[in-house]
């Protein structure tokens, strides 16, 4: 497995200038999965940077001095969760302004339950997922804020069984992940049609390549290993709790995990380290992160023993709802739940 570049790196991607918390999350999550030790010093440095990205009005921006936006907010919170295991929860999380965050989320909410990604910005299901994810992690009051959200999410489920980014739009892996993960976070997973969802996501695995496509009749891409792959452990959990419990396998997720691992390990590793979309594509931190997350899901079945070839390939487990390692999620949830409730 190739190494991911460590800190002190300088990127030649000006287009990511409004996505710097994402870079923190993608890199930290990748290193975590690879069991790379992270120094306390690196942890502190990243925490200090993310403090510069927090906005007075609440939430986080894509870079110091920019407007708050739900996507870098989600990424920052995920990064901080990981950092709480590198430094301490207090150091990583105590300074997050939960009151301002809550007020900002309220401003972004729409009457129908959807969320704008930023003030004056677009509405789509990413906004919903990012908002719910940070609200639940930070122990914010969710009942009022997300009262209509499950209904809105369900209206995004298409005739194919997957979810689109907005009602009427085509079923898509990234948006489907947002939908399912959000319903789970709000404990409303029964409101969608899980059987049709399972059928759709199962059909997104490509029989030749072994990896997943994002939409019907489109090409395979390593990042969908996570966006599509994550639905399997989630649905598995949900179905095991219901009448499907006898049918659901205790051994494996309901996709071909060997085929996915082969696609990732054989086709998606860049010669100089990092992972990619498909052979011929350049490497980037986004694909590195999500290929590794997908690999984690494929290797760590219900019994955590599905790794092919040998244990040297084995990456750590993660929580599929957040896309963050289990210990990091729990550390953050524990810490925030110990804090007083925020005023509504």
């Amino acid at each position: 497995m190739g190494c991911v570049e460590l800190w002190g790196l300088i990127l030649h991607w000006q287009g990511l200038d409004a996505s710097r918390p994402w870079l923190c999350y993608w890199i930290l999550q990748s290193l975590k999965l690879l069991s790379e030790p992270l120094s306390h010093r690196i942890g502190t440095d990243v925490v200090e940077f993310l403090k510069l990205c927090q906005c007075k009005e609440g939430g986080f921006a894509g870079g110091p001095g920019q407007d708050a936006h739900l996507a870098p907010t989600y990424a920052a919170m995920n990064a901080l969760a990981i950092l709480s295991t590198v430094t301490t929860p207090e150091e990583a999380l105590a300074w997050v302004d939960r009151t301002a965050l809550y007020q900002w989320l309220k401003r972004l909410s729409c009457e129908d339950g959807a969320f704008r990604l930023h003030e004056g910005g677009e509405v789509d299901i990413r906004g919903v997922y990012c908002a719910v994810s940070v609200a639940v992690m930070a122990n914010l009051p969710v009942d009022c804020l997300f009262a209509n959200t499950p209904t809105w999410i369900v209206s995004c489920q298409t005739y194919e069984g997957g979810f689109g980014g907005y009602p009427g739009l085509e079923a898509h892996g990234g948006y489907t992940f947002c939908a399912l993960a959000t319903l789970v976070l709000l404990q409303k997973e029964d409101e969608c049609d899980q059987d049709r969802l399972l059928r759709w996501v199962a059909f997104r695995q490509m029989k030749v390549e072994g990896g997943f496509q994002g939409r019907t009749n489109k090409l395979v891409d390593g990042c969908y290993s996570f966006w599509q792959g994550a639905s399997f452990p989630i649905l598995h959990c949900l179905m095991a709790q219901r009448s499907q419990q006898t049918a659901i396998s205790k051994q494996c997720w309901l996709f071909d995990s060997e085929a996915l691992q082969e696609y990732l390990v054989i086709c998606c590793q860049h010669g100089k380290g990092g992972l990619i979309d498909k052979p011929g594509k350049p490497r980037d931190y986004y694909h590195t992160c999500y290929c590794l997350c997908g690999l984690s899901i494929a290797q760590n079945g219900p019994k955590r023993n599905d790794a092919i070839v040998c244990d040297a390939n084995l990456v750590e487990s993660l929580n599929p709802v957040w896309g963050v390692s289990i210990d990091a999620v729990n550390m953050a949830l524990d810490y925030f739940s110990s804090l007083p409730l925020v005023e509504q």
């Binding site: 409004a18 110091p64 990604l117 004056g120």
Partner: protein, 340 residues
Amino acid sequence: MSDSESELSPYVSYRERAEWQDIVPLEQEEGLAPVVQIAYSDRFRETFSYFRAVFAKDELSERALDLTREAAMLNPANYSVWVYRRKLLKALDRDLLEEQNFLADIIEMHPKNYQVWQHRKEIVEWSQDPSLELEFTANMFTDDAKNYHCWQHRQWIITRFGLWDGELEFTAKLIEKDRRNNSAWNQRYFVVNHEIEQLEATAAGGAGDADETQKAVILHREIEFSKKQIAKDSHNESPWSYIKGVFRLMKQKLHLSVTMMALCDELMKDKSPHVAAFLIDAKEELLGQQGEGGSEQVNSILEEVVRLCEILADEWDTIRKRYWNYLAELLQVKYQGLPD
């Protein structure tokens, strides 16, 4: 490349421009131990330092507007720049048609960027003029007929301004061109769904059963359309999901469609997973009607379903073996009451 630096006019440093002498550029905060730093070009660094300066003063001027254009071209994903630009356009009461032309160019360069499409949507909303949009999106589809942002914009335009006329034909054209264009099939469903909603609205208004006949006409039309595409390639997933979706929309049963069931029987020889899956779904409908609990008829249908799942798991669709095995077991437990 994720920026349009090469598309901009030759660079004259802001420091050297007479009209910018009064502004002190604002450097970006990086803190004492910078991380995830980006190697900005001089032009990028300077442009954004000047942007930060005017943004901090909330300056609403022509030069600020020009600055946002430069900044947006350098990093179209900088959403703060676009929000500020919209503020400026409003304050300066600028010509929105000119803005649409600028947008047409930048969208062409960055077709998968969220901000440029949102900006276009906002401009159309202000101008209340959708007259360019159907043609604009249709043109974009000639480069990439599956561009998600483009489809989102087109659906918004149609819904917002009631431009449904001709959209069914538009989807047919795209499907003729590429029967695997799932976005086009999705759009067709979008249109048919609206047709049905309109019928039901009229019926609710007192037209009685008229809508049931019209629904049947639409269903027949869509069956014939899908059948034609399926005949060209029964391994193409799109028409199968589509027609099943339409049946569901109309609350009609798959197994009661003589046309579809005959089509499936005829196409089994192709060994398409979608044919087998359709039959499984049709037979599951039947099982659902018979009720749970093991009559001879139920057992017989169940046996057929299990056999189909086995063919899929072992021969026709082995990548989904685990799923098909699960489905077979699930249905057996449900309809035969197999012990745990």
